[in-house]
Symmetry: C2
Subunit: 1014 residues, 2 copies
């Protein structure tokens, strides 16, 4: 459309829009050099699911639960902005914006693009959702942000400048530096920090800081970060939603109740109050809140008037603004700001209201998200290797489902149950589609077919998403119906992997062979009744059918898989007297006879005490006392002085109660060539398996917890404690979104003198990857399989909260008790969770290697696919082993491929990450090279353009635009030189990665053949 | 604006509007000949004041009381209609529309005019407000409707076709025939009729009828009238206000919760349900309710979808419609409809919920409106006679204030107190302006100055709006500070008038003279303490100042005033021994001695019983026993079975308690040459004066009631009963809006078999002019000074409810108890009311004359203005007597000038009304002539164009367009020939008026001199 026509159209828009007050307000104010500038930032905060599902929020259904319709917001925003070119609006949640965009006509799109280009409409933050910062994994945060940023780039050609995490419940270091500075944001604003911290910062005018979230990157990844004085709503009385109760500006002298002077006075008073706690002559007013601007006109009509009359008054300067304009104004002040390091966890909004319960809330959903996250990473790799099809199944819906699952009311567990169900449904749908893609990609790769030939491969692969409850139809049936079973194991990591595989089988009359036909040692472990029950109940629950006869054994065997590739194994009906799996030796130890029971035949041995508690850990000469136990906190129902209850958000215990293992229950000890296990029924609703793999030097603890009983009317939050004799001096370390470890000190905050009100809840931190502690000699690390809350509440001890079942709502809006159940028809029982954690001792300075490398293996487990084979005509053709990279090459141990994804036009997105922080490991915390050519042996890389983290702009462009900020005092002095990998030589194509560095490339290939012969 | 540009603009509007869903819905359905047609009528019902003031509703302030902003409705309606030319909307309340219109730019006005002309926006009903039908006076109804209709005509060139009284609490005959048929409406729709009536009509499919509201006019003023099946909201579940909870139509197959078929089924089911109680294949859905369409887009988005999918489904035909389209469809059915006569009073929505309390609620406000109404009529006449000034004070703001005071939550008393205060304030402001106009007009006329010369007349007139509490500064001070007093008395009636005047004076040392200097007989009546208290307290309350020394006497004298003119009287300081007023003979009758006390020295005498009750009425040979007493109903606080309370709307007594006059209080008897009075203190809060004027043959009863005590925790509704010995056979007659009398039969309804639940409340009717009953020999009539509720609860008895003070809300939304107080600063006491009623016996067939003629005098009292004069230089020049009409002419006794108002361009609006119904009076219920030439002796009438009642179209045009309707059965047979005045000969200019006829003319004058020498 020609500019002239567009201009005319915009002019007409002003006439035609609902804003037709004949009076013309002067809304043109820009920044005033000396007056107090009040930046009015019209905004809406649209939760990507919370009390309603995302779709319900979008279309405005289910309004009896919450009056919210995002379609209204965006529909009404357009004419409101057209009505006055000075008006501005920001929009944040791309999941909604994209739904809306899809519905718009080309004419509307043209107008909206013009609004974006003129700066009237600014798309900020720009991920699909406003992700939480405590419980998402950083890979998921990157992916969901990238999805949104790409859309914005593609449709509007712009890159968001501002981090706008106004609602999440505390703020992470990873958000500040990685999803902030590293995506090119100039600033980062948020609403929720600890009430004590906030009070001090208001007093010291230090709500606005320069935040260096990364020890490794220091000032090179710092960001201007502003916490709001209260929340993200307007000052009291300036709330102009349709039907809102704030006094409107009545400026029609011919009507009664004219109140212009009164409203101007209110405005000035609120501005001055905020100026008193803010540096510089700029304050920002967040003019909006959750799902507001349903009828944008109502806000702008009043804001127009306020700007007009306040500026006529002249005491302060009011202007339409955006966080970008505000940030530039702060930057232009050219002053030094307080320095902030670490993070803003945990978050308490009142003395007994620590929002540390949500670190664990909905543990099954948190695990599901983690599993899907790893699967999505692997699926994209396989999609890339096979060559992305233009139609048919892809990873798109899994990507979308995972993206919105990162929302701060999704993975947090703070949504209503029906909304949690919606997220789960979306993940399941996304998974189903990705599963088809993965199966067919594996089939294509196995069949060595080219991209084009591989429309419908012959080999049919099946996968087993319910393997965790010992349900795997192909492995159960194949061998029992006269077929053999081919097993493909895909390794998404860049290094060769030795691992063990564990699948349920109906019979031990089988043998396991590698791709060369060699017999592979294997072990049969009887599946216990606890698993049979899990299996039969949950197959009914989730698939709505009977699980059928239960498999008898876990078949366990060791496997070896190449980098970014697969191996195949065959499981055959045993013939003759050939090698069969070793049946485990199972012994039952009666109560009172426990003493000295031990498992572990390799470098690691675990002994148990007479009470059946794990007690001694022996590994490579280290001999440590360790004691593991369960207890629960009873959730507070509120006290006389404070009605705060423990709930989905808030952890407020009113007592801690040890769970003593039942005295009459025997221990079961399972021993075999690969794995030893010790099974314990702790009580009627806790079952635990302690497992030692001969080839590994950590302990794996598998737990089944639930249904948590509440028939005593008491909500319970179930924790496990692992106690050692270490002198840890109140200090422990937890990860930030699965990435950087941050030092935590019990009952202490770096930024203020902590008043301790909640000795447990106030010391809880989110754990995504792991938690560790150390003394002068050693480290003790625990890795987790999902996000959980945890702490070290006494020296030498670590506590993880595994499950929560509560009976009351904690008054933060969700208005439901966190009381998860699963139902077969109408018969519901409390949710049972099953999961694992892993622990290990290391000599001091040596723990990172396990935490980082094994941690990454936990995130990216081997992807298993099964194919039945006719035993009589075993497939001899086809590839039995595959590596996506040069077989002579492997990625360094400290490097991982975060993303390998085919883009349009045969390009690829590649994200490489250094897994180690600076100083974390002597050998591995070093700058390391990756040879791109070796990564893509069958392709020729034409160009490797380094991008910002969200890949929406070239890294160089981003760096050139980055605002430079000064910090107060001598903060600079403490900083050591920051290491960053250098530029990539376009010929050599070697990428250097410094510790913690993540580098993002868009690769352009000049050869497109995607069939690789490994 | 050229048509092409406009079309382009409209097309763009569609693009730019918020409605930009890419999906295109087919909304083009029109009427289907055979299917069930569901007429979707988007509407909003915007109360012109209720819980908030009109201004607060308009701008959307005070939203904590009610979430409502009319500006939003109208702002958002425009783009919503532009977005799809099939969409339609009706707007009703012109008071709001005019506020909005004033704010619009020319561009918007052009668009809105186009929307009106295309029929997308239809302005219906069209008065300033949706007036009530029980308590307003028909003259006020005409005036407020005219104001709105003129505006619509002037701005849009259209005339509303539809009566839309959807919310008023029962429906009047006058509304149906006079404000319906006579303003040219083709139909009339409403929501509230008695629940028993409704049930029967649904069953019989007779909600839609042909209503003949006038006995005099019969079928010539009939109208198609439709009562809604429920209320005026959409069917349950089809309520699409922003944030409403009804399920939206989710038709996006790519989102969850797709529900198109479900919603279509709901729609069809609701349509069929309504069809089952409705004649023809047309049903109307009122898609909206109070203050809805705040964001019109939310409704139209869903309605578009419903029309699209319902018609795709095909079982029924859904269309955007208006009441006009619906009416035409009903008419096109060419069938006979049930006949309805009488009215729809009283209204009960449940068994114990008779909305008959509001007939009396806020009696002081009701009186204030009535006084202002009469004043407005007179002021316009004086404005006409003087010649309307182009600037300076006029009657506009009084017109506006009176117009909105007719709203069904204004004069009804069913608004919140602060809103009642707002109406009162507006009336006071309007009065103040009109008062200046009246004073200066009178001065001009007195000074005989021409229009142009009369910018600032010398004579300063003062008026006494607080005369009712004996406060009249000019009459009080003039004579005491050495000045004489000139009194001008203006008579707005078209016939010469003999009356008495009563003004407070400080001294009896005065004399009264007519304009020829003749001494006029006068009487002094001591002002009693009861009035001194009223005066001093209320002057403080209303004027915020001390009233000063109280006047000692009422000075009473007889006056004679010409038609539409004035007389002047002088009150001089008495000189020498000349004639002074006669001091009344005042005697006190001690308790026990009452027997035989009587007043009245003319044709009428009233005797009192030993108990102090009026007991015998003697007039011209008639001798009737009559007993008058007070009692109160205790307002119900709800019962176990029904929580309904007595409140502003609902009269629900839980008992009736006689008020026995206090035994120790003496009677005071006042006698004089002009007036006799009997003063009684009934109890500490009721004071009564029974008054007989020697020249009149009715009894005037003046009451002071209040503060009604509630310290016993009981709300009270105070009534007076007047009992006679008449055998009235359950039958009595009450007026409809002050115009037609309707027969009422106790415990009986014409239209259905009444189940009697509330023997008092269910027999109450609104009384504006009066109530009467008759037996075979005589009639007993009572006239009132304002709207009150009344009944005849036993034969021969009449009851009027005078005051109500209640302590609980009656749950109809106002959410306040009707507990009126007046305050001096923070010291508040219950509202005291003061007022009068009048009664009289007449021989059978003779009562109408008094009711009609004296009733009109009560509506249009003499307008008094005072001017101080220097006694030493009495003004000798100037006009002392004036008549606006030819001095040789007087209007016939059965004719009144309802409106005489100067219009732009020297035109005038003239409304002449015949005061008598057909058959009401032998001599006066006849077609009567008015000679227009004699009415305007100094002007030449160029044209006299007969108009519709609201003067927005020529009567002939209106008649030519009128839809002809058929009624069922042989209803036609009973009809007698209808009399109507014939056409007006343009030369003779004689207007014939048949009984009850009101004829409206716009007169064009060819001479403009407005100075008349009488």
């Amino acid at each position: 459309m020609a500019i002239a026509v567009l201009a005319f159209l915009l002019a007409l828009g002003r006439i035609l829009s609902a804003e037709s007050k004949f009076m013309v307000y002067n809304t043109s104010a820009s920044i005033h050099p000396t007056k107090l500038n009040v930046h009015l930032v019209p905004h809406t905060h649209d939760d990507v699911g919370w009390l309603k599902t995302i779709d319900q929020y979008y279309v405005g259904s289910n309004n009896s639960i919450q009056r919210a319709c995002v379609q209204n917001v965006l529909d009404s925003m357009v004419p409101a902005l057209l009505a006055d070119k000075n008006r501005k609006f920001i929009y944040v949640e791309q999941a909604f914006f994209q739904l809306w965009w899809r519905d718009q006509s080309e004419a509307t799109k043209t107008i909206v693009k013009q609004l974006v280009h003129s700066g009237q409409l600014e798309l900020i933050n720009g991920g699909m959702c406003m992700h939480d910062e405590a419980v998402p994994h950083y890979i998921d945060m990157i992916d969901q942000t990238t999805l949104g940023h790409w859309f914005i780039k593609e449709e509007f050609g712009v890159t968001p400048r501002i981090g706008w995490q106004i609602d999440p419940f505390g703020h992470s270091a990873v958000q500040a530096y990685l999803l902030g500075a590293e995506v090119g944001f100039d600033s980062f604003f948020f609403g929720r920090i600890d009430y004590q911290d906030r009070a001090k910062r208001k007093n010291e005018k230090s709500l606005e800081v320069i935040w260096r979230g990364s020890k490794s990157f220091g000032s090179s990844a710092q960001i201007f970060a502003g916490a709001f004085p209260e929340n993200y709503e307007p000052p009291s009385g300036f709330y102009f939603e349709v039907n809102a109760a704030s006094p409107i500006v009545q400026d029609d002298i011919s009507l009664f109740d004219y109140n212009v002077q009164e409203r101007v006075n209110d405005f000035v008073a609120a501005a001055v109050a905020q100026a008193n706690i803010t540096q510089t002559n700029h304050v920002m007013w967040t003019m909006g809140t959750d799902f507001k601007y349903q009828y944008a006109h109502t806000w702008f009509r009043q804001l127009d008037k306020l700007i007009h009359y306040v500026n006529q008054d002249g005491r302060v300067n009011a202007l339409y603004s955006t966080p970008s304009i505000y940030t530039d104004a702060k930057h232009a002040a050219n002053r030094a700001w307080p320095l902030k390091t670490g993070d803003y966890f945990p978050y308490a909004d009142r003395a007994n209201s620590y929002w540390t319960g949500f670190f664990t809330s909905r543990p099954a959903f948190k695990r599901y998200v983690r599993v899907m996250s790893g699967y999505y990473l692997a699926a994209r790799q396989l999609e890339f290797f096979r060559g992305r099809a233009t139609s048919g199944p892809n990873t798109g819906s899994l990507a979308d489902a995972l993206a919105i699952a990162q929302h701060h009311d999704a993975i947090t567990g703070t949504e209503k149950q029906h909304v949690a169900n919606d997220y789960t449904k979306r993940l399941a749908i996304g998974y189903s589609e990705a599963e088809v893609l993965v199966s067919s990609s594996l089939a294509c790769l196995v069949e060595s077919a080219s991209n084009k030939e591989c429309g419908s491969p012959i080999t049919k692969f099946q996968q087993c998403p319910l393997m965790n409850i010992s349900y795997c139809p192909p492995s159960e049936t194949a061998l029992s119906n006269g077929k053999d079973l081919m097993l493909v194991l895909y390794n998404p990591l860049g290094w060769k992997r030795e691992d063990i595989v564990q699948i349920p089988v109906m019979t031990g009359d089988i043998s396991v062979h590698d791709s060369e036909g060699n017999n592979v040692e294997s072990q049969l472990i009887p599946i216990t009744d606890a698993y049979h029950k899990l299996r039969s109940y949950h197959v009914k629950v989730y698939l709505g059918r009977n699980a059928g006869e239960a498999p008898k054994y876990w078949l366990v065997f060791s496997v070896s898989v190449p980098s970014l590739g697969f191996s195949t194994y065959s499981i055959l009906r045993a013939q003759g007297t050939g090698a069969r799996p070793t049946l485990s030796n199972v012994s039952t130890v009666q109560p009172g006879k426990y003493s000295g029971v031990n498992i572990g035949q390799g470098n690691l041995k675990v002994e148990f005490s007479a009470a059946g508690k794990m007690t001694l850990y022996v590994s490579r000469g280290m001999k440590e006392h360790v004691e593991q136990s369960f207890s629960f906190y009873s959730g507070s129902n509120g006290t006389h002085n404070d009605p705060q209850k423990s709930g989905a958000y808030v952890f407020r215990p009113n007592g801690s109660f040890p769970i003593i293992p039942e005295k009459q229950t025997p221990l079961t000890v399972v021993r075999g060539p690969i794995i030893d296990e010790l099974h314990q029924r702790i009580n009627s609703w806790i079952y635990q398996v302690t497992r030692v793999n001969k080839a590994k030097e950590h302990v794996e603890v598998e737990f089944i917890v639930g249904p948590v009983p509440t028939d005593d009317g008491i909500g319970k939050e179930v924790v496990t404690q692992i106690s050692t004799g270490m002198m840890t001096n109140k200090t422990f370390y937890t990860d930030s979104c699965g990435r950087d470890f941050i030092e935590r000190i019990r009952d202490y905050r770096t930024d203020w003198e902590l008043e301790v009100n909640q000795p447990a809840a106030g010391n809880y931190y989110p754990i995504n990857l792991g938690i560790f502690m150390k003394d002068s000699e050693k480290e003790f690390s625990v890795l987790v399989d999902r996000s959980v809350g945890g702490s070290s509440l006494s020296d030498g001890q670590i506590e993880l909260m595994l499950h929560r079942r509560l009976l009351l709502d904690d008054s933060r809006g969700v208005a439901e008790a966190l009381n998860e159940t699963v139902c077969v028809e109408d018969d519901c029982t409390g949710l049972i969770i099953q999961g694992k954690y892993y622990f290990r001792f290391d000599p001091i300075g040596k723990g990172a290697r396990w935490r980082r490398s094994y941690g990454q293996e936990l995130y990216s487990p081997l992807l298993l696919a099964f194919s039945e084979q006719d035993g009589n005509s075993r497939r001899s053709s086809g590839r039995t082993q595959f590596s996506g990279i040069d077989p002579s090459y492997t990625l360094p141990e400290n490097i991982v491929v975060l993303t390998l994804q085919e883009l349009d036009g045969g390009k690829a997105l590649l994200r490489l990450a250094h897994l180690y922080e600076i100083g974390e490991d002597k050998e591995l915390s070093v700058t390391t090279e990756v040879q791109l050519k070796k990564l893509f042996p069958s392709k020729k890389i034409g160009k490797a353009i380094e991008m910002s983290l969200s890949a929406n702009q070239e890294r160089a462009t981003m760096e050139s635009k980055r605002l430079v900020w000064q910090v107060e005092d001598s903060a600079e002095e403490g900083e050591t030189e920051v290491a960053r990998g250098g530029p990539v030589d376009p010929i050599e194509l070697i990428v250097e990665l410094a510790p913690m560095e993540i580098r993002t490339f868009i690769l352009e290939f000049t050869e497109f053949d995607t069939v690789i012969y490994g």
